[in-house]
């Protein structure tokens, strides 16, 4: 090897090493310097207009101790909040509040694993655009973080220890997902929320979370959280909410039914497959929307005490269709009264009639409550269960 070659090799090594090592670790941060924020709550003080952010952060050392002494499970459900820690900070804007975290935290908050954003009802009614903007602008805001509105202040909800999960926010996210999986309330990610916000006509929605009290085994009251409804937004501010029935009606209409149950007076049916379609029809200035629902179900509960016959099955199918229809209509009525297009009828019209849409769009608020909605439900009962006769006849 000649001297030149050797020199070259040294130079290559230096050229590679020097930038790498001098560059140091600008972005390197150890896990024990981070406070992993699992849930973030947003409240507005109605008097001052100040924003209060509530961080629910994970306390790793506690998780370590609970997992190593796994016997102490009975503490959960009403026990002390040891795996999470709540912090509040107040500022004039979301980022102002975020920046004040440094005043009371020992670790840098880390938002890339946040599971839910909770908006206090008061705050949501004031408009949450500043927060949405911050999340969308910031690379830490992932598109599939769940959004929810709390009946009370978000800071209260985030403090309630919830069931089996050691991290409350994860539990809450799972709860929302479960309720959506069983077609009770919608599961709304940040991306969906932002998309509805962007469409100008479609109203954003989010599930609502409330606290209820339960009597524990030792007679003490235990706080638990439950999903109670669907918040309806107009633009970025909340204007009303749908109850349980209306919420599932909404889900039927926007094709978000996965599994779940339909209860009719004589029986309960388990949904196997459901599909819906919003078909707009534009004639002159009249808009007619047809919601076509196609559903298949299994029978899982029959109170009739009769042997099943084809007639009864047909009756059940009809009853089911009626029930679904009434749910959807309830949601439609409510949305008309709120004048909020939660179903995305506007977008459906846009998709089909893009030229006419230009005129319709500015006056959608006036047009919307006058839309004629027709619900067509096709149901089919597949299975009747493991028994084919009633166990006890009338």
């Amino acid at each position: 090897m000649t001297r030149g070659q050797r020199l070259k090799i040294y130079v290559i090594i230096l050229l590679i090493i020097i930038p790498v090592f001098l560059s140091g670790c600008w972005d390197s941060i150890q896990l024990d310097k981070l406070s992993i924020v699992s849930g973030l709550g947003w409240d507005i003080n109605l008097d001052t207009g100040d924003v209060t952010l509530t961080y629910q952060s994970i306390v790793p050392s506690q998780i370590k101790s609970t997992s190593s002494t796994s016997g102490s499970g009975e503490q959960k459900g009403g026990g002390a909040l040891n795996t999470i820690q709540l912090d509040h900070s107040t500022g004039s804007s979301p980022y102002d509040a975020l920046s004040r975290y440094t005043q009371h935290g020992s670790r840098i908050p880390y938002y890339r694993h946040t599971q839910v954003f909770i908006f206090g009802k008061d705050g949501a009614e004031q408009g949450i655009y500043p927060f949405i903007d911050t999340v969308a602008r910031n690379p830490a805001g992932r598109p599939n973080i769940l959004m929810a509105v709390s009946e009370k202040k978000a800071s209260d909800i985030l403090g309630v220890q919830n069931g089996m999960e050691s991290i409350q926010a994860i539990g809450m996210a799972e709860e929302i997902k479960l309720s959506a999986a069983f077609s009770k309330y919608p599961e709304v990610t940040f991306l969906e929320f932002a998309n509805r916000l962007m469409s100008k006509t479609t109203a954003p929605i989010a599930p609502m979370i409330g606290i209820f009290l339960e009597t524990g085994p030792d007679g003490k009251k235990i706080q638990k959280i439950r999903i109670t409804g669907t918040a309806v937004f107009k633009g970025d501010s909340m204007i009303g909410q749908l109850n349980e029935r209306e919420s599932s009606g909404l889900l039927w209409a926007i094709n978000k039914i996965k599994k779940g149950f339909v209860m009719i007076p004589e029986a309960s049916l388990e949904i196997v497959r459901a599909k819906s379609k919003i078909v707009p029809e534009l004639q002159d200035d009249k808009i007619e929307i047809t919601i076509e629902i196609d559903e298949e179900s299994n029978l899982i509960e029959y109170k009739g005490r009769k042997d099943l016959t084809a007639d009864i099955v047909q009756e059940l199918e009809k009853g089911q269709a009626k029930e679904i229809k009434s749910q959807v209509m309830a949601a439609v009525e409510k949305s008309f009264s709120l004048d909020a297009d939660v179903f995305g009828f506007g977008d459906a019209v846009h998709r089909k009639y893009k030229n006419e849409w230009k005129n319709l769009k500015p006056m959608w608020d006036e047009v919307y409550p006058n839309i004629k909605v027709v619900v067509k439900v096709k149901t089919h009962l597949n299975e009747i269960g493991d028994v084919n006769k009633a166990l006890m006849k009338k």
Binding site: Q30, D32, L34, I170
Partner: protein
């Protein structure tokens, strides 16, 4: 051939300042004189007073009137052979012959050669340097008074290790045998597998003082000729004292000696070497080394195991992928872990992150330092386990298991996840043992870069490695072939191990003049069905 050796010998003598006299004497070939005493004097002078040099004076002939001498090196010759087939015929059998071969000395030596000695290979030489060189390699020389010619008898025989089972390249199916340290044995092992007349062992001697025998193995007609020439050129360029092992040769003839990657393969198994030679490669055998070098080598060879070809194709392909995966894991896993833990925490699924964060709590070292500490600890343990006498190995493993596995975690020096990562890495690195040292180097480089730049650093270094690999050639064959440059047919033995009957041609990058290695369409077919006995 001999000329070449002599030239080398002279060159060495000339450069040898210690024996100036000798160098003056041997400037030009020195021939034997007819005077035995004189010959022996020169020999004694050159070979010195070494105790293993045996010069046996004797009188031979019917009347015991001819002085002669047998010269050999004790330990290099088969004593039985020398005693019974050289000394005995010379000293006693020759007496019994009443013929009048008597006084004519030149007749005598021809007679000895043709009728007396009962050994196989005998050559005559008139050159004293030739005598010395051959005696040093284990020949036995006979000098007779009045004759300027010496007989060199091949009666080599020394203690060797017996043939043993392969220790490094294990296979469940397939032959067990491996090379040993004797060149002849090794060539015989190959010859027994390939009985093709084209199989050629070309001999060279390398090493100014060691004069180690080297054989280049190839099959005429299958190998591309320029390849052999190139290897010969590179071997001839070597000018060093001694070749102790084949590793010396490897380092002297590599294409890119500064690369992390070895561009010359090695194997201790005759079947592997035979297979590679039959693909159109050359092998190099060195006396004294139980390994053979094979060249050219491509990257993929490191991940092929001999057993791939003995087992059925599906599992072989699967295992080959496992080997790739294991290598990638062994090189990249700690680096990726470090990058994820200190830069990209968002890339871990949340539950995993929480678990890891809990384990990381209270550990004082940054992950990068932790990883480097553990890697070095592991390498120390591995080295200790290797070098330690067998009986102490157990102690090492106990201490290692305790130190790494238990105490470090319990003391809160390293996190449990890091131990899991390192253990996975360590096990993965044993899957492709030939690449283990490479994996260790890459691992430490990547971990250092990852702890400074995260995934970006890892990718940048990987790109540099890739571009380096793409630029490597082994004796003109691109190192990454058949992947890049792409050779679809070559992929049959790269990404999968296709059934043997589909691999009709030799690897294309080797440019073999005889590309076809079997007739196509050999897929086994069941016999055209005769009606089943039971049914008819």
């Amino acid at each position: 051939m001999l000329d070449l050796l002599l030239k080398k010998l002279h060159f060495q003598k000339m450069s040898n300042n210690n024996s100036k006299k000798a160098s003056e004497q041997h400037d030009s070939p020195v021939y034997l004189s007819k005077n035995l005493e004189e010959n022996l004097k020169i020999l004694r002078e050159v070979l010195g007073q070494s105790s293993d040099v045996i010069i046996r004076d004797m009188k031979i002939g019917t009347n015991l009137n001819v002085a002669a001498a047998v010269i050999y090196i004790d330990g290099l010759v088969d004593r039985d052979l020398v005693n019974h087939h050289i000394l005995q015929p010379l000293m006693s059998d020759l007496q019994l012959i009443k013929d009048n071969v008597g006084q004519n000395h030149s007749n005598l030596i021809d007679f000895i050669k043709s009728s007396v000695l009962t050994v196989g290979q005998i050559i005559g030489t008139e050159d004293i340097d030739g005598v010395i060189a051959n005696v040093l390699t284990g020949h036995t020389a006979i000098l007779v008074e009045g004759v300027n010619q010496a007989l060199l008898i091949d009666a080599k025989g020394w203690e060797t290790r017996s043939l043993e089972e392969a220790k490094n390249e294990l296979a469940i199916r397939g032959p067990r045998i491996s090379f040993n340290e004797t060149l002849r044995t090794n060539t015989a092992l190959l010859r027994r597998i390939i009985r093709d007349p084209g199989l050629t062992f070309e001999s060279l001697q390398v090493g100014e003082r060691s004069k180690t025998d080297i054989a280049i193995v190839y099959i005429k007609g299958i190998i591309e000729d320029s390849l052999v020439e190139e290897i010969k050129q590179r071997l001839k360029r070597i000018n060093t004292d001694v070749i102790l092992d084949i590793g010396y040769i490897e380092q002297y003839i590599e294409d890119n000696p500064l690369s992390l990657f070895s561009t010359i393969g090695n194997s201790e198994r005759p079947d592997v070497v035979a297979a590679r030679v039959l693909e159109g490669r050359a092998a190099i055998l060195v006396d004294g080394s139980p390994f053979a070098l094979t060249a050219p080598m491509i990257l993929i060879e490191g991940f092929q195991s001999v057993e791939d070809y003995y087992a059925r194709p599906y599992f072989a392909s699967f295992i080959r992928w496992i080997r790739f995966l294991a290598f990638v894991l062994s090189a990249f896993l700690p680096a990726i872990y470090v990058a994820l833990m200190s830069f990209h925490q968002e890339l871990l699924p949340t539950p995993l992150l929480i678990t890891v964060a809990a384990a990381k709590e209270g550990i004082p070292l940054p992950v990068g330092v932790e990883a480097i500490f553990m890697i070095i600890l592991f390498e120390i343990l591995r080295e200790a386990g290797l070098r330690m006498p067998r009986t102490l190995g157990q102690a090492v493993s106990i201490v290692g298991a305790l130190v790494i596995g238990q105490s470090a975690v319990a003391a809160g020096l390293v996190g449990a996840p890091m131990v899991v990562v390192l253990a996975t890495t360590a096990i993965a690195s044993f899957v492709a043992p030939s690449q283990a040292d490479l994996g260790a180097l890459l691992r430490i480089i990547l971990v250092s870069v990852a702890s400074f730049m995260g995934l970006f650093g890892i990718v940048i270094i990987s790109l540099e490695i890739l571009s380096h690999l793409a630029s490597l050639r082994s004796l003109g064959v691109p190192y990454l072939s058949p992947l890049a440059p792409l050779n679809i047919r070559g992929l049959k033995d790269t990404l999968v191990r296709a059934p043997l009957w589909t691999m009709d041609s030799r690897p294309e990058p080797l440019d073999s003049p005889n590309t076809r290695r079997q007739s196509p369409d050999q897929m086994p077919q069941p016999p055209k069905t005769k009606p089943n006995k039971g049914e008819s």
